[in-house]
Symmetry: C2
Subunit: 96 residues, 2 copies
Amino acid sequence: MLNRLSQKEHETNKIKAVIYGQDYQIKGKASVDHLRLVALLVDHKMKEIGETNPRLDLNRVAVLAAVNVADEYLKLRQEYEELLRLLEQAQQGETD
Amino acid sequence: MLNRLSQKEHETNKIKAVIYGQDYQIKGKASVDHLRLVALLVDHKMKEIGETNPRLDLNRVAVLAAVNVADEYLKLRQEYEELLRLLEQAQQGETD
């Protein structure tokens, strides 16, 4: 059942995106929609941080955006592992 | 059972961290260990990107690190949602 969770392999895709006013080419083995969402998320975080701290250098805005996303990523990873344990318990219950 | 997943509220903590050679103060309602891990992850990503692309501007290294973490975050979120569906199905099975 857990096999359904494995990431589907995609071909390499490329998109052009504007992040905080700068042009980037983003590529990855994920759908074009996923890559667009990634760019949008970073752009959004940078704008949020830049608006709250208008005197911050561009590179510090970018680092703090990375910190912000990394914070959410690590929290989600903890919840994901917890959920995995619960699912394994539930599946063991089924087979007992 | 899902209540166990809700994030525990912590007091606001602060740490000093060096990310890609620059000093940052990072604060958040998470443990000091979590904040340190966040800083380490961003530092690691920036070094990885900076070493692969030594001519890249500091701010582009930081933006690409944010893009990289956002990519992993969004993929994990998708897997998390899938796992949640599986768990809900397993729990419905228990009560049927």
